[in-house]
């Protein structure tokens, strides 16, 4: 009797890209829900626009590049990219911000570099950086947290922010505020002390009102990814350690003008960045030691940008800059092979 042959191993793979991406999406849920709770429905508009644009752009690019569309679109990597970008964008951004962002992420940062697995830079962060540099005004309009809004969030208000013409200036002023990181930076620039600044209502006991809960929700999701072994501890621990050590050093050294490590860890995109963005396998270092170093560098650079840079938040720029160092990090952190000295 004759048989067909194939090559060992004959055991079916235990994992798939799709499965990993599904876990990432699932782990983002606590964060998304907390964001809606704290900042209203704007984030949902961002998600819908970013994800659908990202998936359509992915399909279009696959078609143009002559690649099979279904297996690549169903790997869900475009969904994850779109979602991460959506969560990084301000909740009241006009519709074309997420739209342009998703196109930049998928078309330029991903497919023009060769598609899945070949892009050197994190697509969502490239899109975020481009938007930040190009449309600084639209990128800094954040809603006040729910508890600080004068009359509560109305879906119709948010809707008119995103799709209609911007409402009257009084409405904008009533509904929006700078982010805690932004406010901290501005006020420090005006020679206020940290404790004076933090007495404002947009600051909570840990970091920013609302923001602290969003950060904790991302931390919970991140721990789920760690527990499910979708990511290893090296990058998130590295990022948080880098940020923690830098902020602790300056907090101890000059506490009057340096926010506490807790403030840094629970503000802005630190948790989202540590667990969901820096851990993008394609653009991260690959060796375990290298991943820890990669994380530490991102954390430290985030602190540097937040403190001395031109932008209040540094995660996106830190990730992109350290992406560039990946080949070098990988080269110098190769593990000792069995039987070698």
């Amino acid at each position: 009797m004759h048989f067909l042959t194939s090559n060992a191993p004959f055991i079916a793979p235990q994992n798939s890209i799709q499965k990993m991406m599904l876990w990432v999406l699932l782990a983002l849920f606590p964060g998304i829900i907390t964001m809606i709770w704290q900042f209203g429905f704007g984030v949902l508009f961002n998600i819908v626009i970013c994800v659908s644009t990202a998936v359509l752009a992915e399909a279009l690019m696959l078609y143009l590049r002559g690649r099979p569309i279904l297996p690549f679109v169903s790997d869900l990597s475009a969904v994850v990219t779109g979602l991460l970008l959506a969560l990084a964008l301000p909740t009241l951004a006009p519709w074309w911000i997420p739209f342009i962002g998703a196109i930049i992420a998928i078309v330029i940062a991903k497919h023009l570099y060769g598609g899945l697995g070949y892009n050197p830079f994190n697509p969502a962060m490239i899109a975020f950086a481009v938007l930040m540099v190009s449309f600084p005004k639209s990128m800094t309009v954040w809603t006040l947290p729910y508890s600080l809004l004068p009359s509560g969030a109305h879906l119709s208000d948010t809707f008119s922010f995103v799709f209609g013409s911007p409402p009257a200036k009084e409405v904008i002023d009533a509904m929006t505020a700078a982010t805690p990181l932004d406010e901290m930076k501005t006020q420090l620039g005006l020679s206020q002390t940290v404790s004076e600044i933090r007495s404002a209502s947009i600051f909570g006991s840990l970091s920013g009102t609302g923001w602290q809960w969003v950060s904790i929700a991302y931390l919970v999701g991140g721990l789920l990814l760690l527990f499910k072994k979708v990511i290893s501890w090296h990058i998130p621990v590295g990022v948080l350690a880098g940020l923690f050590v830098m902020s602790l050093a300056f907090y101890l050294f000059e506490p009057g003008v340096s926010p506490s490590p807790t403030f840094h860890l629970l503000s802005g995109g630190a948790m989202l960045g540590a667990f969901f963005i820096a851990t993008d396998p394609v653009t991260a270092a690959t060796t375990l030691k290298g991943r820890f170093i990669y994380g530490v560098l991102i954390g430290a650079l985030t602190y540097i940008i937040r403190t001395w840079g031109g932008y209040p938040e540094g995660i996106a720029f830190a990730v992109i800059l350290i992406n560039m160092a990946v080949p070098l990090i990988d080269h110098y952190t190769q593990p000792r092979v069995y039987g070698h000295k």
């Binding site: 009797m1 042959t5 004959f10 055991i11 690959t286």
Partner: protein, 509 residues
């Protein structure tokens, strides 16, 4: 006993032992035909000692070792040699190779053999030659001639630990486990022979901790045997802990140097099936003519652990298990991680065959839709050699083979862990096999071109030297001519020719 941990591996690989691990060893009937490929071990093919038409007995040597790294082959039953020709051999490429075929006569007459009352009376070199003559090779799958490993006298290395490998880490296979369950006392006798030969301080018999009843039978045999230097150890069930290098790391914390052998660090490691064969050869005087094979998978009606004559065709083996089921899809020799698929079931099982896995479609994947590598690094985390499979893949795929070699491609043991954990379903090991063989060809060609270049350069030198020598000779000749009174000679020659002329004209007249 303290245990160590090698990098990665697959702790949660489905073991599939339940299909066959409870089945006692059954002695398989003598098949009608026995086929012996002349090369079923590492090293040179054996040289046939029989002709077509010769009658042979069970245990009779029918092919002899050729050179040091080789092994003789013995007939598994009595019968007549019917062919000395190429036959399909168990090889992933579906090659045919010179083989001896015997039609058995059903009598199973045995050649005379003499049991040994006390092996301690024999010298190490006598024991080495008994094991060599018995045709014993590594039965765990490597098929390296065992006598060479044991011939410690000729080398200055000191062996302090003997490791007996009963860690049957590949899914489905249960032949070593059954052997240890049922014949542990004889395995222990074999261990004593090896300890005596190697002069090792201790012997560690290791099995995985997923078979506690086997461990109990080992402990009982160890207690009965009473040799305090022999220890049974259970180790965590993590594929590929039965790999020689991984087992040595687990038990001793030491690593076999890259490109080296365990003896370099004072260790000899031997599969338990091989130890049993040593016991049979030394104490019972019987050469290696049979072994235990697990026949399993959803593709056979009744999975079995069979003690079979080496040389039995696989279709006969499957018949002994009541034939194929309709699900038979892939015929795999060895386990599903490191075995290979066979084209055809007329191929004989050989000394190294520990398992015939007739896999159904869902037991053995047929093709994988590979996606691009996303550099997730799961392969590196799973690699028991601590390699970076994704980097190796990158270089193998783009034919930058030297770079792959520099990243220690040749330390890859092809265990398949990286393949199984890869979320992009890339056939990594297949890429590495390709890169290794391409590198071997490349290195061989480089060797040939080096030889050719050396020869060319030598020729150039030779030509130049000859030219110089010729020039030197003619210079000497000229000098010699000059030094003689040349004129006289010329005149003498002229006179001689004149005389000749004169004589010839006289003759005409």
């Amino acid at each position: 006993m303290r245990l160590w941990r090698f990098n990665g591996g697959l702790p949660s690989l489905a073991e599939h032992k339940n299909e066959s691990v409870h089945l006692p060893i059954e002695i398989a009937p003598v098949p009608a035909q026995l086929i012996y490929p002349l090369r079923q071990h590492i090293g040179n093919a054996a040289t046939p000692l029989v002709e077509v038409g010769d009658k042979v007995l069970r245990g009779q040597k029918i092919a002899d070792a050729q050179g040091l790294i080789s092994a003789p082959i013995h007939a598994g039953s009595s019968g007549t040699v019917t062919s000395l020709a190429d036959h399909l051999i168990p090889h992933p490429s579906g090659f045919s190779a010179p083989s001896i075929t015997i039609e058995t006569d059903g009598l199973d007459n045995e050649a005379s053999h003499t049991p040994c009352a006390d092996f301690r009376q024999l010298s190490v070199s006598e024991l080495v030659s008994i094991i060599r003559e018995a045709g014993i090779v590594g039965l765990g799958g490597a098929a390296f001639p065992t006598a060479i490993k044991l011939d410690n006298q000729s080398k200055s290395r000191h062996i302090d630990t003997l490791i007996l490998n009963g860690a049957e880490c590949e899914p489905y296979i249960s032949c070593d486990d059954r052997l240890l369950k049922e014949r542990a006392d004889r395995v222990l006798d074999g261990i004593e022979v090896l300890l005596h030969m190697l002069g090792a301080k201790r012997a560690i018999l290791a099995i995985e901790d997923n078979v506690p009843d086997t461990f109990a039978s080992i402990q009982a045999a160890v207690n009965k045997n009473g040799n305090a230097n022999i220890t049974g150890v259970q180790i965590p069930t993590i594929y590929p802990t039965g790999g020689e290098k991984q087992l040595i790391k687990t038990l001793t914390g030491k690593e076999v140097p890259s490109g080296g052998i365990p003896a370099d660090i004072g260790i000899v490691s031997i599969n338990v099936g091989t130890v049993y064969a040593v016991q049979q050869a030394v104490i019972e005087g019987k050469p290696l003519t049979s072994r235990i094979v697990t026949v399993t998978g959803e593709g056979v009606k009744t999975p079995r652990n069979l003690e079979v004559r080496i040389g039995t065709p696989i279709n006969t083996l499957v018949d002994m298990c009541d034939g194929y089921t309709p699900f038979a899809d892939r015929l795999i020799m060895g386990g599903p991680m490191m075995g290979f698929a066979l084209l055809n079931d007329e191929i004989p099982m050989v000394k190294a065959t520990n398992c015939i896995l007739v896999a159904s479609k869902h037991e053995a994947i047929t093709e994988k839709q590979a996606m691009p590598c996303i550099r997730c690094g799961l392969c590196a985390s799973a690699c028991p050699a601590t390699l970076l499979p994704q980097q190796l893949y990158w270089f193998s795929k783009s034919d930058q083979l030297e770079k792959a070699e520099k990243l220690n491609l040749f330390d890859c043991i092809e265990c398949g862990c990286c393949d199984v954990v890869c979320p992009s379903h890339i056939p990594l090991v297949q890429h590495f096999r390709y890169a290794k063989s391409a590198l071997k060809v490349q290195n061989h060609e480089k060797h040939l071109s080096d030889v050719a270049r050396e020869r060319f350069e030598a020729r150039e030198v030779r030509i130049a030297r000859n030219k110089a020598e010729r020039a030197e000779r003619s210079r000497k000749k000229k000098a010699a001519l000059k030094s003689k009174p040349a004129k006289e000679e010329i005149e003498a020659a002229i006179t001689r020719s004149k005389e000749r002329k004169q004589r010839s004209t006289e003759g005409e007249n």
